[in-house]
Amino acid sequence: MAKKIDQTQVRKVALLSRLELTEAEVAEFTGQLSAILEYVEKMNELDTDDVQPLAHCLPISNCFRADCVKESLGTEKTLGNAPQRDGEFFKVPKIIDSV
């Protein structure tokens, strides 16, 4: 039986997930994810054409609160865990190439 997911797909999913994988990990995950997906296909034994999807168990939606100003964390606390900062900013590598 063909694998449910191949190495090319695993590489694509890793890219979408922003996870850099080693070659060994690609091979390992391909086998493991295939086995899991194969198991999960068990769901296809059930006819669900007329079943409404259930994303959430509670009968609540649109929980609004009063639109009023409250105390927030503040700059220092917000930046407190930043791996790199520059004054009041999170510091990251350059995103836009210089012309």
Binding site: L33, H56, L58
Partner: protein, 491 residues
């Protein structure tokens, strides 16, 4: 003398402290003495707060001496799973990516414990980001089962259950997305309650599967579980999925705890239970006989969709996880790779270095299930199966007060036994997952031992927001048995 102290339940202890018969500081010192002795063997904690805890204990003693009122958990040493944000100590989720993360606020349950005058002893080990069934996926350390140190404590709240069983605290908080409170509670011979989804605020609980996650107590007795619920349950404006108390009022879970439920009707699902080891099946059957002798009516029912729970769960939970864990980007907090050349590599290398294998696997699986072309076949299908599973429960509860089944098909397994085969590990969650998919409360209570002297748990599931009756039903059994009084040899 000190052992007697460490074996007390939270209620006795709190009342003794509040009445001035026991000093809070004596208790805290006894717990830390024990931690110094046994923590190197058990490995339950990621962080402990000795200085903090002793200071808090002295403060409570001073308040009592001054005649002030103290809270419901005054002086009770409590451990919390390291998935709960605290402004003291790091909040690591047992992940290298958060190893040095210091939360800027306390989770609501932490605030509630502090207002109840609990003494927070430390933060416990877990499977990384609560993903696992053995605590072996911790990126930081290993925890063993106090009943047999060659075996796992269960997971993902294995540090909390090992700490409670090993008398390294009096009670603990865990979180349960697919069984992470109940399964380790059964492996460690303690009481673990997963409340109804929405009963306890998730604010400050690091998210894994947001539609499934719920915080709950891990204790040595059912009464302590009720006491902990009295402290942590209730609506929280900071969590929009916590339920309004007008809709589902919170009650005093201790008030009627010792009143047996009259004309109790228990459902069992024989076909489903057949998958458990024979010693587990026997223990469950014996436990149900205890209820029968108390006059309960036992009915056999079918829940045809339970067999599909694992399949639906591992799609729903991983899909939610892939979205929730996108926040670990190496920019705002957490680990950032030193080898990143550009901003894409900041993400992909930081995440590759920071996350362990199981977390990567689940992020990948969830990303795949949500990706274009596969969404309908996996994610949508899983949500529909979830709907069918919930209707199984709705139908079942029309005709009974509770459902009883095993917590886990086996007792605690050997360290390393399942780490090479993730699917095998997932399949061990067969009995616990459905309660999360359906959002109903469920408890694991000790109900016997296998031939290796390893604890077995009985799982009781009740209708949504039925924690009061659920705990009363659990108490009926506990009041007539001694399993919960047995202690691991190292205690």
């Amino acid at each position: 003398m000190q052992d007697d102290l460490l074996n007390m339940d939270c209620r006795e202890l709190r009342d003794g402290i509040a009445a001035g018969r026991i000093k809070s500081i004596t208790v805290a010192e006894a717990v830390f003495e024990r931690i110094e002795q046994y923590e190197p063997i058990v490995g339950a904690y990621i962080t402990t707060f000795k200085e903090h805890a002793l200071a808090k204990a002295e403060e409570i003693d001073a308040q009592i001496t001054a005649g002030k009122q103290v809270g419901q958990l005054a002086g009770v040493p409590i451990a919390v799973k390291d998935v709960l944000c605290t402004t003291f100590g790091a909040t690591t989720c047992a992940s290298k990516i958060l190893e040095n993360f210091h939360a800027p606020y306390n989770a609501t349950v932490i605030e509630k414990l502090l207002s109840a005058d609990a003494v927070i002893v430390g933060k416990t080990n877990m499977d990384e980001f609560a993903m696992g069934s053995s605590t072996e996926n911790s990126g930081l350390k290993q925890t063993v089962n106090p009943w047999d140190t060659s075996r796992v404590p269960g997971g993902s709240s294995g540090g909390s259950t090992a700490a409670v069983a090993g008398r390294l605290c009096f009670a603990a908080l865990g979180s349960d997305t697919g069984g992470s409170i109940r399964q380790p509670a059964s492996f460690c011979g303690v009481v673990g309650l997963k409340p109804t989804y929405g009963r306890v605020s998730r604010f400050g609980l690091v998210a894994y599967g947001s539609s499934l996650d719920q915080i709950g107590p891990i204790t040595r007795t059912v009464a302590d579980s009720a006491l902990m619920m009295n402290v942590i349950a209730g609506h929280d404006p900071a969590d929009s999925t916590s339920v309004d108390e007008k809709q589902a009022p919170v009650c005093d879970y201790l008030e009627k705890l010792d009143e047996p439920v009259k004309q109790l009707k228990i459902a069992v699902v024989p076909q489903f239970n057949a998958g458990a080891e024979s010693q587990v099946q026997t223990a469950i059957a014996d436990a149900i006989d205890v209820y029968k002798n108390l006059g309960a009516e036992i009915i056999e029912i079918e829940m045809p969709h339970l067999d599909y729970a694992i399949a639906a769960y591992y799609i729903v939970a991983t899909a939610e996880a892939s979205s929730n864990l996108a926040r670990y980007d190496g920019v705002h907090y957490g680990h950032r790779s030193e080898n990143a050349e550009d901003y894409i590599e900041v993400y992909s290398k930081s995440r590759a270095e920071g996350f362990g294998k199981e977390v990567k696997r689940r992020i990948m699986l969830g990303t795949y299930a949500l990706s274009s072309g596969y969404y309908d076949a996996y994610y949508l299908k899983a949500l529909k199966v979830r709907s069918l599973i919930r209707s199984d429960f709705t139908k079942a509860f029309e005709n009974c007060d509770c459902i009883m089944m095993p917590v886990s098909p086996t007792t605690a397994f050997k360290i390393g036994e399942k780490t090479d085969d993730p699917l095998k590990m997932y399949l061990s969650d067969v009995y616990t997952i459905a309660a999360n998919l359906a959002g109903v409360p469920a408890v694991s209570i000790p109900c016997g031992f296998d031939e290796n002297n390893l604890p077995i748990g009985l799982q009781i599931l009740a209708p949504a927001f039925g924690e009061d009756r659920l705990l009363r039903i659990a108490r009926m059994y506990e009041a007539r048995t001694d399993w919960h009084k047995k202690k691991p040899a190292i205690v």
